[in-house]
């Protein structure tokens, strides 16, 4: 049964949640002119490796990643899958603690962080326990409810733009390659579509539609960096921690009964992260179920979420979360580049053999 629409919604929503919070600040810090260049390079890398991944998966129509890697032998597949598992778990910890901090900084200054972490983990675990189909269907429902609002908010942000702020537009230096924030900004790309490899066979999707959806997503990356840039100018935007949220905040809407209506928009993005976290938990539980088959998958998820909760409580603040993002970078590139390559190569070899 073709479930492309659900898969696309899941991917789009998770990306939205990731793009608008931390990503603009990374790109704006990594360079001071020609911001479209780092973004374009990232998008090209993403599309390239995603298409490799999809092609590789298409050589094995009824199998998921774990069974594909098993061909290489149990020990080797374990070494290949273990970084994936590590990345999934660390990213979950990062996401939960980062977004709880973000919520604390921006919205609810007095609620202690552990309470927000509880909320996020509780909902994510609830969704993850119900299975992948629930996750995908919830994504579709939430997309229908929230997407028009997001589009509206983005259009409204064009209120105070000065196009001259986009200059200087050409960067011949490529200095951003030497900046660490550039590499951590890849996290908006790496994590989302890896779940395609874990889907059971009854959830089928059309690869072309997915690539189309990704192309639809690319302008939003540019928007999230350029809207703050055009409004504030590069010098000011580089001093802000959440440039996009500040851009949202300054929007003046006379006709709405709410004052800071953009709060709704930003908070709905946080809820998308809850959905993404549930997806990550589910993926991790599949890998762990492979190696500890005695415990049922539900209990894996609960155990994982409890341990993630405890670890998140130990993270004291924003600086530590940033450090975590930096440490996770090698695994990030593993999942973004190495894993699709491996799958693709196995697929090509198998095709040649058969």
């Amino acid at each position: 049964m073709d479930k492309s629409l659900q898969v696309i919604c899941m991917g789009l929503m998770s990306h939205f949640g990731l793009i608008f919070f931390i990503y603009p600040e990374r790109i704006i810090t990594s360079t001071h002119k020609g911001h479209w260049e780092p973004i374009l390079i990232q998008c090209v890398i993403f599309i390239l490796f995603l298409s490799l991944y999809l092609k590789g998966l298409s050589y094995f129509p009824e199998q998921n990643i774990i069974s594909i890697l098993k061909i290489l032998g149990k020990a080797f597949s374990f070494t290949l899958l273990f970084p994936v598992l590590l990345y999934l778990v660390i990213t979950t910890i990062e996401l939960v603690s980062a977004y709880a901090e973000v919520t604390n900084i921006i919205f609810l200054a007095n609620t202690p962080t552990w309470a927000i972490i509880t909320l996020m983990i509780f909902i994510s675990t609830y969704i993850a326990v119900k299975g992948i189909e629930t996750i995908l269907r919830t994504a579709l429902l939430l997309f229908c409810i929230f997407f028009p609002l997001i589009l509206l908010m983005l259009l409204i942000c064009f209120q105070d733009i000065d196009w001259h702020n986009a200059f200087p537009i050409i960067d011949t230096d490529f200095s951003f390659f030497r900046q660490p924030p550039y590499y951590t900004s890849f996290f908006s790309f790496a994590i989302v579509f890896s779940f395609l490899g874990f889907l059971p066979k009854k959830i089928s999707y059309n690869s072309k539609k997915i690539m189309l959806a990704v192309l639809f997503l690319i302008p939003f990356f540019f928007l999230s960096v350029y809207l703050p840039l055009l409004t504030f100018g590069n010098e000011t935007a580089s001093t802000l921690l959440f440039p996009f949220i500040t851009t949202l905040d300054k929007v003046q809407l006379q006709w709405l009964i709410f004052d800071r209506a953009t709060l709704f928009f930003a908070l709905s993005l946080v809820t998308f992260i809850m959905l993404l976290t549930s997806l990550l938990l589910w993926q991790s539980s599949i890998i762990m179920n492979q190696y500890f088959p005695r415990l049922k998958q539900k209990y894996h998820i609960v155990a994982l979420s409890v341990s993630i909760f405890i670890i998140c409580l130990c993270i004291p603040g924003w600086q530590e979360t940033e450090k975590l993002l930096w440490w996770n970078t090698p695994f990030r590139f593993y999942i973004l580049i190495v894993l699709p390559l491996i799958i693709f190569l196995i697929g090509v070899r198998r095709k040649r053999v058969s």
Partner: protein, 418 residues
């Protein structure tokens, strides 16, 4: 008969004895002998069947008449003229229709099936009848269209019925357990409707209809999320109007879930979202109220629920009085006594109205229950809580599956489930 007296056995309350005897007298042929009856299989030109004593009790309970010959020890069962124990076909009581067909189902199952046959006159219509129950037997029918319904689902339903053939079905809850639904699930598997138009629409979409004898509703299986917003009668209007009305219902459902929670969130946790003029006037309206907004809204919602529940129970003569009292008490006095702010009355009233815009009483009940969940989330986390509550409810809806078909599917026809 043939010069001997025979006994007519039957239940007076079910069989119209006088009329039956008249008709029998007309066709009576006294020379007929009982044993010839056995051979000819007709009694007084009416079909009859020979039975033994165990089956006799069963058939008397079902309303048949027994002719008993003491000497020859023969019992013959035949169909008498039944007493008219059912009401006639009337307009629906629980559902309203504007400019659509106005007949509704009644308690008698065969009449209901007859209404269906009249509306869907196709050879593909299959009706399967089962008798279920251990000591109180009831008839159960499954109706579906052969070319459209999902065969696997029908097989599952039939296997469930056959598995549980000896459980009594007295209430719908028993039927839910019968069909394998868990006890604490809020969302029922069936969508019950009084209107044949809806049932026919369901059949054409490939759904399966259950009729239970004595229950004037068609139970449409499976129940989908989209049924909350779609009434078959919508298609009798023009297309843009249909779209607008359905959109209105979706809006009503969202308002039911969100409004009370927004009040709590904006007043207690996140007042920066309100415009300053609104914030000041709300603060003014809340002056002197001794408890936090969460308690305030819970009290008001409970009072509304009590009023709704009470108005169902009351006889028609007292009903209006209580409504008036409720209106005055809630509307005026409670605000004047500074127990509740007046903005809250508006919100609660808007919620109740929005709650009733969804199609189907059971669906409105589901929303009525779920909005409390969102209110609790909102009172702790503010606006984030409202959104999390919505996510939670969406996840709950998304996780429900009825015989393999997810609750949130949008099936226009089988095969497009997603």
């Amino acid at each position: 008969m043939d010069g001997e007296a025979v006994l007519l056995l039957g239940l007076h309350s079910i069989v119209n004895l006088i009329k039956t005897k008249e008709i029998l007298k007309k066709d009576m042929d006294t020379s007929e002998a009982i044993h010839s009856v056995k051979v000819k299989r007709t009694l007084f030109k009416r079909k009859c069947v020979e039975i033994n004593s165990e089956e006799a009790i069963e058939s008397i309970l079902q309303g048949k008449l027994i002719v008993y010959s003491k000497e020859k020890n023969i019992m013959l069962q035949f169909e008498p003229l039944p007493k008219d124990l059912t009401r006639s076909i009337e307009p629906p009581v629980n559902e309203n229709v504007l400019q659509g067909p106005l007949d509704s189902f009644i308690e008698n199952m065969s009449t209901n099936i007859g209404i269906m046959r009249k509306k869907v006159s196709t050879a593909q219509l299959s009706v399967k009848t089962y008798t279920v129950g251990s000591d109180q037997k009831k008839n159960l029918s499954i109706v579906y269209l052969n070319d459209r319904a999902d065969k696997s689902m029908i097989k599952k339903i039939i296997s469930h019925i056959e598995m549980n053939q000896h459980t009594n079905i007295l209430y719908l809850q028993h039927l839910y357990r019968f069909m394998g639904m868990r006890k604490w699930d809020v969302i029922p598997q069936f969508n019950n409707t009084e209107m044949p138009l809806e049932a026919v629409d369901g059949l054409n979409k490939g759904k399966v209809i259950l009729f239970v004898d004595g229950y004037p509703f068609a139970l449409i299986l499976p129940h989908l999320l989209w049924d909350m917003f779609v009434q078959a009668n919508d298609r009798n209007y023009a297309y843009p109007i249909m779209g607008a009305i359905r959109f209105l219902r979706v809006l009503g459902a969202l308002i039911t879930l969100i409004f009370p929670a927004i009040y709590v969130a904006l007043v207690a946790v996140n007042p920066e979202i309100l415009k300053i003029e609104l914030a000041l006037s709300i603060a003014q309206s809340r002056e002197g109220i001794p408890y936090p907004p969460f308690v305030e809204i819970t009290i008001m919602l409970l009072i509304i629920e009590l009023i709704i529940e009470a108005s169902i129970r009351l006889p028609l003569s007292i009903g209006p009085t209580v409504t008036m009292v409720g209106g005055i008490v809630i509307g005026q006095a409670v605000v004047d006594a500074k127990l509740v702010s007046n903005l809250l009355i508006i919100i609660v009233a808007a919620t109740s109205i929005a709650n009733s815009t969804v199609v189907g009483f059971q669906n409105a009940l589901i929303l009525r229950l779920l909005k409390y969940v969102v209110v609790i989330f909102a009172s702790i986390y503010g606006v984030l809580g409202i959104l999390s509550g919505l996510v939670f409810i969406s996840a709950y809806f998304a996780s429900r599956e009825i015989f393999g078909i997810p609750y949130t599917s949008l099936a226009k026809r089988r095969g497009e489930i997603g």
